[in-house]
């Protein structure tokens, strides 16, 4: 009875280790597929490369800790987006380095041509980002996700696990508010 019980326990242990190895391989695949997404979500909030990498890395660590509980693997990317977004917002509130914003490549390209045009471009980008930062969080996330990697409404709806109609209406509201903010800013 005792030895049979021990053999049963040992068998379960081996099975658990095998399952663990499978989970690690699966997580590695998802890390490769989703690292750019996590980084860009964090970058949309922080707009600082190093900070965004730190936050994305923290999100992956967190995801790895709880990965074995995630039965539906198709939920990994939405889950990662939510975790990354939340961590980035926390970092934005606390980290003073967010004040040092990294300019986009378009700014750099503009700067290469004409210094005055580059200054205008930087100013316009700053106004756009200020308007986006002023959006309510739900609308802000929709705007960011729709514009990451050319996601459309359906892609954003999948990441947010929301109906496409909800995402569409939020996107419409967000654009309305952006129009108002930017119109006021240009006047």
């Amino acid at each position: 009875m005792g030895s049979a019980g021990m053999r049963l326990q040992a068998g379960r242990l081996e099975a658990a280790i095998a399952v663990d190895a499978d989970l690690e391989r699966e997580f590695e695949t998802l890390l490769v597929e989703s690292s750019r997404l996590a980084f860009r979500v964090a970058f949309a909030v922080l707009r600082h490369r190093q900070d965004a990498e730190d936050v994305a890395q923290e999100a992956f660590i967190k995801a790895h800790r709880h990965f074995h509980r995630l039965r539906d693997r198709s939920r990994f990317r939405p889950w990662l987006v939510r975790v990354t977004w939340r961590l980035a917002l926390d970092r934005q509130r606390t980290d003073r380095r967010r004040m040092v914003r990294e300019h986009s490549e378009s700014d750099s390209r503009g700067a290469a041509g004409n210094e005055q045009d580059a200054a205008v471009e930087r100013d316009r980008a700053a106004r756009v980002w200020t308007a986006i930062d002023a959006l309510p969080e739900k609308l802000r996330l929709v705007v960011v996700l729709v514009n990451i990697e050319g996601h459309d409404v359906a892609g954003a709806a999948e990441l947010l696990r929301l109906p496409a109609g909800t995402v569409k209406s939020r996107l419409f509201l967000a654009r309305q508010k952006l129009k108002e903010s930017l119109s006021c800013a240009t006047k």
């Binding site: 005792g2 019980g5 021990m6 326990q9 379960r12 242990l13 658990a16 280790i17 399952v19 663990d20 890390l31 490769v32 690292s35 750019r36 980084f39 860009r40 970058f43 949309a44 707009r47 490369r49 965004a52 990498e53 994305a56 890395q57 992956f60 660590i61 790895h64 800790r65 074995h68 509980r69 990294e102 986009s104 490549e105 378009s106 316009r124 980008a125 756009v128 980002w129 308007a131 986006i132 705007v143 960011v144 729709v146 514009n147 990451i148 050319g150 654009r175 952006l178 129009k179 930017l182 119109s183």
Partner: protein
Amino acid sequence: MRDEMITDVDRQIQEALAVDPSPDFQARVRIRLSEEPQRHRPGMGWLVSGVIGLAAVAALAMFVSSRDDVGPRAGDFVAPPTQSAAALEPVPPPATEQPVARPLRRPTRVNAAETVLVPAAEREAFRRFLRAVTENGLPYAVPLDARDDAPLSVPGITIDPIVIAPIDSTAE
């Protein structure tokens, strides 16, 4: 005009977000993951609990079996009060019919204690002796005025003389 503005805003956002992580980003994540403590596997709690439970049951079984092999210990029982002192008193000893041992900790060991501490044959012999002493008195008499330090009086010993007949030398 406003649609152009929205298009422009979308373009701005897309360009701003067209940034990739550094090439070593995934490698740094892997290093961090390797530094993480071992993740708790699902179901391992039950496994560990099962192993600990089996070990505890085995240890308990070994402990109980080892105690049974030793048998009753002297400290577990109290020997009966010396019945000789009780029996030597004038009152007849009904106590001889009382249980010989009183268990202190484990009542189930009473019979075993009787067997171990006072064998039945010895107990019966002692009981007969006490009964005989009670009914008939001691088998020897001790003078009431006897003193331990008094000199012993030994009566005189008379030895009759031995008569030796003379040897007849003429017989050869």
